[in-house]
Symmetry: D2
Subunit: 472 residues, 4 copies
């Protein structure tokens, strides 16, 4: 390259901005995540470009296109983006620098089977999207979709950075790498952030020190998504591990909430009693919401609705999901009609920060989901784990997280291998292997083999429209 | 070394015999295993020497000394050995070429707690010496004894070959290596042999071909002791895996016994229905007795005594053990008084063959328990696994066994990590870690956490005499 | 399968013979190796079938067909085989149970460049087919041929067992696995056998004990082909390692030959002085001929023809190869004309024994070349290493060989990574990478970089007909 | 802990300073490194405490005590530290929070043998402290000293963070971990920083963009100390790898210097021609000074003084070292007499920043030397490698650096195993193993074995006072 050209090409750099970025948004009709991204992009002045919105519900993508484009007309919006709904995934991916995936695999009806069918056998799930019988079924119908996406990315945007937000997080990310091993993908989840917030409040509660941001709580994270653990935590010069012991002792019985009483209002909230109990038994800080953690354990916390209540967290009925979705749609109508305006404020997600870091505009150390290259000792290489990573210009490098204690390691790897089994079962439509994983889920292991088989078959039957090619 | 001396030293070789071998027998007062060894040694003319019998019950060792020495007077006994009861383990180990360990850790009363206390909580165990609540408790009291033995071997017989027969096999062997990593030890178990015998009978049953010896059934073994699996089996040119499918189909319902009706007579017998069921679900041949296999699984086969009966195998009550022991003692009295004579016939064990191989008198390929150096892919290095090994002059080298299928791998490694937890718990007297392993046993996972805690504490209390230093 | 059918199908087994085997012989026009196989097959009564001879020189294959078929007419030939020359590799592979590969990649003229061009720069090679500049060039032209063979096997005989005899052994075998990872291939070489013979003679020389067969010398082998090491050796009860020390001390200066003076007659013979020198410096028994060993080391033994002579081994000029080939062709003419008869006697190779073992007719433990799965600790997984393996019905399982001492390990792995570089260079036609491996060969490292570049380019130029697609 | 106490204990935190830190400085009489630390500490207001200076030259430590304590009297010095010379290493370590090690192992006379004895055999070394014959000898006398230091740290300051500055860096750090595996140690070296500076100048040279600080050049580092490589480099949004290609093309012949002509003035400077040449051949950016890099390669750049000159770098004669030392001593006298004052300015080292990060006062990502836990794929676990790490409150966690290309990997690991051999040789006083590593050094491999032996023995003889217990 001639030097003159070199200088031209890098001129933009001098101004410290990057223009003409293309983001492909798979699931671009989403009500929640898409809005969060729009909001975060609007707040960031350094980057601009196009967001291609692809969704199997094209109408929803069109609506988001409208909402997104309205934004850049606001005078106080700093980040200028053009939103465009597209009819095919190919159009979305062509020329993309970044791909964001946030989809809902299957229908609410299928999710209803995931969450509520097991209740007929005494198996209660607080979320049903990651572990347990519901998580497994959801994975079985999501994996082929992700295999398909991976093939499209391989063909059309092999150098794009791919950020996944869909659950089951580990298996979605795992599938992308299984199909296209050179993919530059990682998975993001905010559960760990909430644990940092809890620790920030703990510092204030116990030491009367105000903590400016959860990011000041430095943690070492290791585990798998929604069953992640913290074995080192600090705030400035303060080691938070002994402090957490005091905190657990203080609040073990009543629990602790950042916003008092919130758990009675929202299915997403809890009093962290499950987290405290796990610390007492295993010695590390579990770094996900109680509703997620409970599903990875034997039915200690999910025995029945009364037990759940006693542990002060909530089940998430699918009715709630449907209603919540409707509210978001109504809200959207108001945005589209101009009756309301999209509120532009930080979402708390890190997607845009990550994009900046990947563009070379500031290092970021945060927790992500990536194939294990050894960042967690003893877990199988290639399985998707959650640890810190250093994000820089065109690279996401895991930080060595070390090893889990034997007892936690054993629980985590049982899920890791169950996930590997589900991956193979879903790709090969292997019902026997799927069932062997199903009956090995801690929430399922407690019912009789006969009942487990009956339940499994019913759940397969209920969702068979999403299991093409299976021998049902 | 001068050549002349060289020739002298190797002269014995020319005659193809080895004299003046010293075997240290820890647990030398044993009624069963010691007799089997005596019998096998008596049948082998190539080697001779001394067996030092050490036992915490010195009287029993003295009795065995007498029985053993009577043997060499028989004119038809080919292997001439001098038996000597010794009062200390040091005397036994001093100068030993081989060490055999076969002990009963704790009392029948302790074993009674292992096996029967859990029954009060609906947990039935068919053996209670390897997995399950009983196996774990037995391990907790055995590990410190083995740590002690390992230290003595390190000090007095670091170059001796050590053969372990005590259960829990994996953890006893694992402890020896944990304390003295350079030890030349391995564990032997006959369960796999019985599976070979079953396959030999299968060949006859299905193909009407007589099989001379179980050794003609060639197998690839992988797993952990008592939860071992066969993924390749052949008899001469015949692949036995598809044949086993036919066999299982034929006998799945009624089961198959080598000796018809034996399972009704003896607690050690079964109809192999558990084995057949595992094949149907997991596709490999489980290579241990049904009574052992059942304990590694959720309570599918051990739900209650009726279920056990339906699967056509037996629980082993400690009453039976006591009675069996008494019969052996009575028998011994007759041997000592001369009323009866020790019957000299092959025991079916391979200890003496192994000693020959280790002395350089013939290669042997057989299954042994050894620390994993990679012979089973994916299981943690250092954990004790069971695979084939090549035994030769002063070496026991594992044969690469490959990898278990995902679903079996997951079940096996859950036990592997539970065992590692028990090892650390027993060495560090860490009750919390012991309990975390306890509640993670598949047989325990089905009762409530509250009940599990209660049971655990009772079992600890019942056996506290054997748990010195624990904070009980 | 119906039981009746089962019995039918396995009837053959009862008679302990296997008929209708198909062996595909790639390089079936070979003068040497093909004859050896014919001879060994003729001596074995248990198996029979067809050998398809494929060679780019069809005429040579036709000649071998004739010679082979003459054999079965002899009344004293026990193994009845039909030989058939075929015109395409596809015909050969179709339906093959076994594939034997023994080819000469390129011409004598190319081999002349491999061996003699470096001499112009003061680099002498005793063989030039494995390591050194010649070995590397030979690899560059062989690897694409093997890639092609692998693709054919994948398509036509994916379940066949593939035995490789071609050099460079490690890289030929490595290429097969690189292209078709599920291939059931291994490489065989007799160099280790000769070291066993040497040890057998040592026993006789030092102890005056006659050893019946080299197979009675039990060894643990580890390394890479032609640079293999023995760290444990025994004959019956005798540890041969200290004996070898005495042997080396006795014969270090004059060397030791099984047949006195042979090294002066034949380029293939030596006095084992290189082997003895390596023992003195590194403590293990190098297990290949001196002419191979010398090429893996710095030019200690190959400085110039005088040095070679002083170490009492020989360079192998290509003239000799040409003359040797001509003699074999003449000999062949006599066989074809009936003037002479093929002498039927054991070749000393193990191919037929291996075939028997793979058919389930007797276990075999011997040294083979296989991808490293951990059988040698510390060498990269997947690289082709030489260790013992257990060969049984349809399986070849490496025996754990342990670890090389640090200093030998370092020398071995330098070649391992050079080989990996050559593999990638040859597959990707990457001249820079090929040169970086070339200049890292111990025999090349001693000349200046400038000269190395010149030599490299000349060797490439000389053999460019065999390097299609390279940017020359 | 009572909450009140908790708050008290963490009060200091609120003020964002840490007092009463104890730093033990082993080699505290050092002229260069000690002054740099004093200067950096003086510039940092957040931390304060005591520096215990231990040196086998107590007088030198006393002088540094004086110089250090003069500092805190200056009104513009922000960091207040008390310096105290101590007579024993025990006094220094007792209660230390941090340990800094920077020693000169052996005498200038010994260093003279390291550097100049090989010249008699045509082996030229530009530094002689890491690789090559000199580096090896220096390692042999340093390793026992480090073993001793490690034992003292284990006994007296097992929780302290240990920062090593002594060469040979990898082997000093490796020894600390060999002796005390739980040590919290890492090694620091500024060579990579200089490469960042070079890249910063490249950006200015080619793009006319001013780069504020070398820290804005983001790099991924992998290799071993002084033979480290960069496979990814960026400045903000600019990928520097293609730019470096242009840079190398532009300056390959004449070389590039930050300060024109400096290499003619100082032995420490070069024109980066070796670095450029390595890029042309291997494709990555070598990240150390040319004088270090050259010693890891065959004698391409160090053939003779003329070659060195042609490549535009310098040999470092020991005369220069002695003279340099004398100048520093003279300078010191002026400081002690008050004639001059220690100039307080940033040294360019990162020790103090690291201490801040370890205290929880700001994250730091930088390159350090640590045992490999997998941060570089394919290099042996436990060997000391150089990569980026994330430094935080009480933790230094390697960042996954990935894998080197095959050809570079091969060169690097040859040194890694040579270092492992030297470690074992030095600890076990194993002359044969030391020689086998010696002759495997690329700079030595080119002379005859006979000469190598002679040289080795002379170098051993010359430095035998520092090799106690060796059989010389």
């Amino acid at each position: 390259m001639a030097l003159k050209e070199l200088k031209e090409n890098n001129k933009e750099q001098i101004e410290d901005t990057v223009k003409d970025i293309k983001i492909a948004y798979i699931g671009g009709g989403s009500q929640g995540w898409a809005k969060r991204l729009m909001s975060d992009l609007a707040l960031e002045s350094k980057i601009s470009g196009t967001v291609a919105l692809y969704d199997i519900n094209f109408k929803a993508a069109l609506d988001n296109e409208k909402v997104g484009n309205l934004l850049s007309k606001h005078p106080d919006v700093k980040g200028k983006w053009h939103y465009q709904a597209v009819q095919t995934i190919q159009e979305a991916l062509q020329g993309a620098d970044f791909v964001i995936i946030s989809i809902l695999p299957g229908s609410f009806q299928a999710m209803g089977s995931d969450v509520h069918q097991p209740e007929k056998y005494g198996i209660y799930q607080s979320v049903g999207d990651t572990a347990g019988p519901g998580g497994l079924m959801r994975a079985c119908r999501t994996i082929p979709i992700y295999a398909d996406i991976a093939n499209h990315i391989k063909a059309l945007a092999p150098n794009a950075w791919v950020i996944n937000y869909t659950n089951p997080m580990s298996l979605c990310t795992r599938t992308l790498y299984e199909i296209f091993p050179e993919i530059k993908a990682f998975g993001c989840c905010h559960e760990v952030f909430h644990t940092q917030e809890l620790l920030a409040h703990m510092v204030t509660d116990l030491l009367e020190i105000e903590v400016k941001s959860r990011k000041e709580i430095k943690i070492n994270v290791l585990g798998i998504n929604h069953f992640t653990w913290i074995n080192r935590a600090s705030y400035k010069n303060i080691d938070l591990m002994p402090l957490y012991q005091t905190f657990v002792d203080k609040y073990y019985e009543e629990g602790y909430e950042i916003k008092k009483g919130a758990w009675r209002e929202s299915v997403f909230e809890s009093c962290n009693r499950v987290k405290f109990d796990l610390f007492k038994r295993y010695g590390l800080i579990a770094a996900a919401g109680d509703r997620h953690l409970a599903e990875f354990m034997p039915p200690w916390y999910l025995k029945d609705p009364e037990t759940v209540k006693a542990w002060k967290f909530r089940l998430t009925p699918v009715d709630f999901r449907i209603q919540d979705q409707q509210e978001k749609i109504n809200k959207n109508q108001k945005l589209l009609s101009g009756e309301e305006q999209l509120e532009v404020r930080p979402s708390g997600e890190e997607g845009v920060e990550m994009i900046l870091a990947l563009l070379g505009m500031g290092d970021l150390v945060t927790n992500v989901n990536l194939p294990n290259q050894g960042q967690i000792a003893g877990l199988p290489l290639g399985s998707v784990v959650e640890t810190n990573a250093l994000i820089r210009k065109d690279s996401v490098l895991p930080v060595m997280a070390g090893q889990l204690p034997l007892d936690i390691h054993n629980m985590v790897q049982r899920h890791v291998y169950n996930q590997e089994s589900v991956l193979q079962a879903a790709l090969n439509k292997d019902k026997q292997l799927a069932f062997n994983a199903f009956i090995n889920e801690p929430l399922v292991a407690n019912i009789s083999r006969y009942k487990a088989e009956k339940l499994f078959n019913e759940m397969i039957e209920n969702t068979k429209d999403y299991l093409p090619g299976w021998d049902i």
